[in-house]
């Protein structure tokens, strides 16, 4: 009885600590809506075709005179002929509608087809409409947000995602379990990425829906549907998500539920487990669950915590869990990011744009929000781990940890050269972790 009481007291403490951590995180700008409708619609952010130009292909038997007559009649001007394809590039008179000319040419019985001179873009720059605000993935020094006064970051203070994606965009065989408040199962940027509706250990059912927002944001950062002309890009384009709800609507969960969730995720196909949660107090239950998953070959990333103090648990379980600190859009350590020798590396965790549950989003906003905290830094690391695992399925979690550590950029080398307690080995770098190193003479 005495032991039971002590256990309950311990669980209570853990619950309080987790609650405190998440409350601290929520006090930061998590859930702040800054993107009023209308947001750039698909295709509107950048032009879809070359202004004033159309491409026309005539039927093969059409004579040169007939072709020339068509150009003259419509006052178009020949720019060049793609000789091998027998296609003409024409300019239309200034101010005229491209669509109108396409239609007129299309009605000509001698014309096989006519179309605008569409613009194509390198596939490694995703066409997600909000990608331009994701400085963490590609920082050009752009303004981070749509409202006046939004900050600008320092160019290249990012995780080199676009370069990393040239090597791999991940594998659908890799599953990232997000053990959190659940995931918005019908979110347009998340629903196609779900392995299953997951497991809800709070309500004890098989639908890990999100009634808080934190889990959806974390999931989206790691692996939102990418290159779908909508929303944001995830770090791991092709990885799948497994929602596991172990925190309730206020963002709090007891150790037993979290531990159970870790074991369940490890037993249900997770290759990566994201733990954007923590407590100041160690829990043997969670430590054992982490070891169980690690021994099954699962890479676990956990948030260092946001109080500015010591690294929280489970991130502090050094052998089995990868502890993630946060940096900002200038590659500086976020002042809230916890410190300690357990910190392995850092990732952007300030002003991070992520999907937000539709049910919790006011009608005038898109279901996305800016947030901050080591939770979101952790999601970037989980995404990178998923990319590595997809590329090299045979690697162990320990090897993946080393790859992420050794390839990080020591962005605070000017103050603290080498590994330090603030950002560990440094801010993660997808390019160095994924793209082949060039062996020179």
């Amino acid at each position: 009885m005495k032991r039971l009481t002590r256990r309950n007291a311990f669980l209570g403490l853990v619950v309080l600590a987790v609650a405190a951590l998440l409350a601290a995180a929520r006090a930061r700008p998590i859930g702040v809506m800054e993107l009023p409708r209308p947001c750039p619609a698909p295709g509107q952010a950048e032009p879809a075709y070359v202004e004033g130009q159309i491409l026309v292909k005539f039927k093969p038997q059409t004579g040169v005179v007939v072709r020339a007559a068509a150009f003259v009649a419509l006052e178009t001007r020949l720019v060049r002929r793609l000789s091998r394809l027998d296609i003409y590039l024409l300019t239309v008179p200034p101010g005229e509608s491209i669509d109108g000319f396409v239609e007129i040419f299309g009605r000509n019985p001698d014309v096989e087809y006519a179309e605008p001179n569409y613009l194509l873009r390198a596939s490694v720059t995703p066409n997600d409409t909000l990608f331009q605000y994701q400085y963490a993935l590609s920082n050009t020094g752009q303004q981070i947000g749509t409202i006046p006064g939004s900050p600008r970051g320092q160019a290249s203070a990012d995780i080199k995602a676009t370069a990393g994606w040239e090597e791999t965009k991940g594998s659908s065989n890799v599953v990232i379990a997000v053990i959190d408040t659940g995931i918005d199962l019908s979110h347009p940027d998340l629903k196609a990425k779900l392995k299953s509706p997951g497991r809800d250990f709070i309500n004890d059912d098989l639908e890990a829906d999100d009634d808080n927002g934190h889990g959806s944001m974390v999931a989206g950062i790691a692996a939102a549907e990418t290159n779908n002309r909508e929303g944001i890009a995830g770090v791991a384009w092709n990885a799948r998500l497994l929602p596991v709800k172990a925190l309730n609507a206020t963002g709090v969960g007891p150790s037993d539920k979290v531990a159970e969730a870790i074991r369940w995720a490890a037993d249900n196909g997770a290759g990566i487990i994201n733990l954007s949660l923590g407590s100041e107090t160690a829990s043997n239950t969670i430590r054992d669950a982490c070891k169980y998953a690690f021994d099954k070959g699962v890479f676990i990333a956990a948030a260092a915590g946001n109080g500015g103090g010591a690294v929280h648990y489970p991130a502090a379980y050094d052998n089995t869990v990868f502890a993630v600190a946060a940096t900002d859009y200038n590659d500086a350590r976020a002042d809230f990011s916890n410190t300690g020798p357990e910190v392995d590396a850092a990732a952007p965790g300030v002003r991070i744009l992520a999907p937000y549950p539709q049910a919790l989003t006011p009608a005038e906003y898109l279901p996305y929000a800016y947030g901050g905290g080591t939770s979101f830094a952790t999601a970037h690391v989980s995404g990178l781990a998923a990319l590595i695992k997809g590329l090299k399925p045979g690697l162990t979690p320990a090897q993946i940890m080393h790859i992420i550590r050794y390839s990080a950029d020591d962005v605070n080398a000017a103050q603290l050269r080498g590994t330090d307690e603030q950002i560990g080995y440094g801010r993660i770098n997808l390019e160095k972790a994924l793209v082949p190193l060039i062996l020179k003479k």
Binding site: L391, G394, Q399, I403, Y406, P436, L439, K440, K441
Partner: protein, 265 residues
């Protein structure tokens, strides 16, 4: 089921030898009254398209060999040769993606030892035309080379070692109607294959990857000139074209060149 390259090569060599054996040695007009010994010097260069990673990826193996050896006229119409030498092999373009940190080899040429043997059989002379079949097999064992990996937070290095084998066999026709020099043409079954092993060590990370490679082509067309100003010295110059199918089916061509000096006595 894929038929292993070395078995294909062995089968082709056996076929070539069968053709040689079927030829009537009695028809040979050049016979050896006594065994002739010819020291040889051979300088050979070629750049060959190779495939790796389940033949999904491609690069080029450039190799230069300097070999010395002897050629012996052994039986009537038969000549056998043995060569040893040094070579430089450049595997640039190979990418090792199974290592913890993927590595692309752009480190240039690496030295190695090479050895090989050749076999020739004179078949017939028709007018000024000589017909023979010849085969040659060379092996190269590269020296291990260690290079540092830079740009990471922990010191790292890789050890690389490559080896290749080259088999060539086919008929050659030589025109003997000119004084002092003889142009020749040949068509051969030609196969190159091998492997490169890379061992990586970065901090606490270790990994090793052995990458089998094989040439993209199976044939060679060659032509050249033999210049024999006297009975004590000869020089041969040969250019080879190695056709291979590119991805998508269009033809690609590799080239090679060799210079050979021989000193019969």
């Amino acid at each position: 089921m894929a038929f292993p390259a070395h078995r294909c090569a062995a089968a082709a060599l056996a076929s070539a030898l069968a053709v040689i054996a079927a030829a009537n040695p009695a028809s040979a007009q050049e016979t050896a009254s006594r065994p002739r010994l010819e020291p040889l010097l051979d300088l050979d260069y070629s750049a060959r398209a190779i495939a790796w990673d389940e033949k999904e990826r491609f690069s080029t193996l450039a190799k230069a060999l300097l070999s010395a050896g002897v050629r012996i006229e052994w039986l009537k119409g038969w000549r056998i040769s043995a060569l040893v030498g040094l070579n430089m092999s450049d595997w640039s373009g190979l990418i090792f993606r199974s290592l913890p940190f993927s590595v692309e080899d752009q480190a240039g040429s690496r030295a190695g030892l090479s050895a090989g043997a050749g076999l020739e059989n004179f078949i017939a002379r028709l007018g000024s035309w000589d017909f023979k079949v010849e085969g040659r097999f060379m092996v190269s064992l590269g020296f291990k080379k260690t290079l540092p990996l830079s740009g990471l937070n922990e010191a790292g290095e890789v050890d690389m070692q490559g080896s290749w084998m080259h088999l060539r066999a086919g008929p050659v026709v030589t025109y003997r109607g000119f004084e002092g020099f003889s142009p020749f043409l040949g068509a051969s079954f030609d196969r190159i294959w091998g492997s490169v092993t890379m061992d990586e060590s970065v901090g606490d990370l270790q990994g090793s990857e052995k990458k089998p490679v094989s040439g993209r082509g199976w044939a060679a067309l060659s032509g050249g000139i033999l210049w024999e100003p006297g009975s004590a010295f000869g020089l041969g110059w040969e250019v080879s074209v190695y056709p291979y199918p590119k991805k998508g089916g269009s033809p690609g061509f590799d080239f090679g060149m060799s210079l050979k000096a021989f000193f019969p006595f």
